[in-house]
């Protein structure tokens, strides 16, 4: 019973850290996927005196990812109903060139304004239209949600670390007598602390496997019926195989540091 209690009291805060960590991974992947969608849906309109190509625009600003020229014919057709063909041809000649431009990443309004300014410095470009309002409010909400989530994860992490340190104090009392006796009989530090390392590493493996299984379950049994569109279409966002190794690495680092702190406080008092 005492053995189980010793494990549980260490495993629970460790699991809390790992859950927070895995949620962070899921959130990062989901937001990246969402950002990709926003980025693809966002475009700037460039109005140019002369024809421009992507290379030229990239020399002005490296965030330009793609450009697509808007066919003048469709614009002329729209605005010249009832005009003669010769008039249409003249109109077509005096109309500037229009380009839909996509960016390589999801940027803030300040960055977009900076791109606009860079492009408008060119003599070839007449003006650049951006779509500030809807983009700005979406972006701000997005950044706010990301910030709140990170604060939440950080809070969980801090509380869990306090619980782990508390458990370390219990460990140091539990193992102190045994380690002192072993020290008197000449056991080196690694042998004295071997039991603690073994328990800690076992707990790290158990916690990582358990949390991985929970997220694998969510991936295959919950995501498709979650009602969250982005997760329904991208189940892999919930759990990747590499997550297990990341969690294992971090939990091992936490437990080994914890045991080291306990053990280093029990050094020979000679």
């Amino acid at each position: 019973m005492k053995f189980i209690k010793n494990h549980i009291t260490f495993i629970l805060p460790l699991m809390a850290v790992l859950i927070g960590l895995e949620f962070y991974f899921v959130f990062e992947r989901t937001t990246k996927n969402y950002e990709e969608g926003l980025k693809n849906n966002y475009s700037m309109l460039i109005v140019a005196h002369d024809k421009v190509d992507i290379e030229y625009l990239r020399t002005l600003n490296s965030h330009i990812a793609t450009i697509e020229e808007v066919k003048k014919d469709s614009i002329v057709d729209e605005i010249s109903k009832g005009l003669k063909d010769s008039s249409k041809a003249s109109l077509s000649k005096i109309l500037p060139h229009f380009y839909n431009t996509k960016l390589d990443t999801y940027l803030s309004m300040d960055d977009i304004s900076s791109i606009k300014a860079d492009l408008e410095k060119s003599n070839k470009i007449k003006s650049v239209e951006t779509f500030d309002n809807s983009h700005n409010s979406t972006y701000k909400l997005f950044v706010f949600l990301k910030f709140i989530f990170k604060i939440f994860i950080l809070f969980i992490g801090i509380v869990s670390f306090f619980l782990i340190f508390k458990q370390m104090e219990v460990w140091s009392l539990t193992h102190k007598d045994r380690m002192n006796i072993m020290e008197i009989f000449g056991a080196p530090l690694f042998l004295r602390s071997a039991v603690m390392y073994r328990i800690a590493v076992t707990d790290a493996f158990f916690s990582s496997i358990f949390i991985s299984l929970v997220f694998v379950y969510l991936k295959y049994n919950w995501a498709s019926s979650s009602g969250i569109e982005i997760l329904m279409h991208n189940r892999e966002l919930i759990f990747e195989f590499g997550d297990f190794f990341k969690m294992l690495g971090i939990s091992l680092a936490i437990v080994i540091t914890s045991v080291y702190l306990v053990v280093s406080n029990m050094k020979d008092e000679r």
């Binding site: 006796i181 009989f185 000449g186």
Partner: protein, 226 residues
């Protein structure tokens, strides 16, 4: 230091803090291989402190102390571990690991030295037979009486055939019968194995039959009584 000396102290001073609070002052003595030595003295005279210095728990404040050919002033951690692995130490409060079995407690010095499980088991069985506790081999120390626990402590002290056994009031917590059993065991060990034994105690037992030396701690000094 002669070839047969196991412990050699010269103008040894022991203190937990500074010179003004010295517990042992300018003590000089030699203990040779095969000696059975009682160290007596009133409570608080420094008997246990001296024993701590002998197994390296307390560093000499000044003077020389040599145990098993090692200078206890300059001893490295590695050498201290080696020295302790070759000592048998018996405590008044037994210092057994309560969550371990009796067998594992007896085998502790062998575990530390890296002996195989077979050797650990064989040696533990042999010693537990010797101290008449074989039937308790798989119990934990808390299931045994005080006298039985101390016999486990004696068996542990003997398990790696140490060159020196240090005992700190080994019968301090025991009744007369259990005390006699412990003294009997220690006498036999010294006689049969020619092991050096240093026992700190407040009173030398009447039943003791083999020749022994008697050092007394008085007024911070250590003197031999002939």
């Amino acid at each position: 230091m002669s070839n047969t000396s196991v412990i050699n102290a010269s103008y040894l001073n022991l203190s937990y803090h500074d010179e003004s609070s010295e517990i042992i002052k300018d003590a000089s003595f030699t203990i040779n291989k095969g000696d059975f030595v009682f160290i007596t003295g009133p409570s608080g005279s420094g008997k246990s402190t001296l024993l701590k210095a002998l197994y390296g728990k307390l560093k000499p404040f000044s003077g020389d102390l040599n145990v098993g050919g090692l200078d206890m002033n300059e001893i490295s951690n590695k050498n201290l571990q080696k020295l302790r692995q070759n000592l048998g130490i018996i405590f008044q409060d037994y210092k057994l690991i309560n969550e371990w079995s009796v067998e594992k407690n007896v085998a502790l010095p062998l575990i530390i030295a890296g002996y195989s499980k077979d050797i650990q088991h064989t040696q533990a069985k042999r010693l537990l037979t010797h101290v008449k506790l074989l039937e308790h081999i798989y119990k934990t120390p808390l299931e045994l009486s005080g006298g039985e626990q101390q016999r486990v402590g004696v068996a542990r002290a003997l398990s790696k055939n140490p060159f020196l056994i240090l005992a700190d009031e080994p019968t301090g917590n025991l009744d007369e019968y259990s005390s006699n059993v412990i003294w009997d065991l220690m006498e036999n060990t010294c006689e049969q194995l020619n092991t050096t034994v240093v026992v700190v105690t407040h009173k030398i037992p009447n039943i003791f039959s083999i020749p022994y030396r008697h050092l007394i701690i008085e007024n911070r000094g250590i003197y031999e009584i002939h």
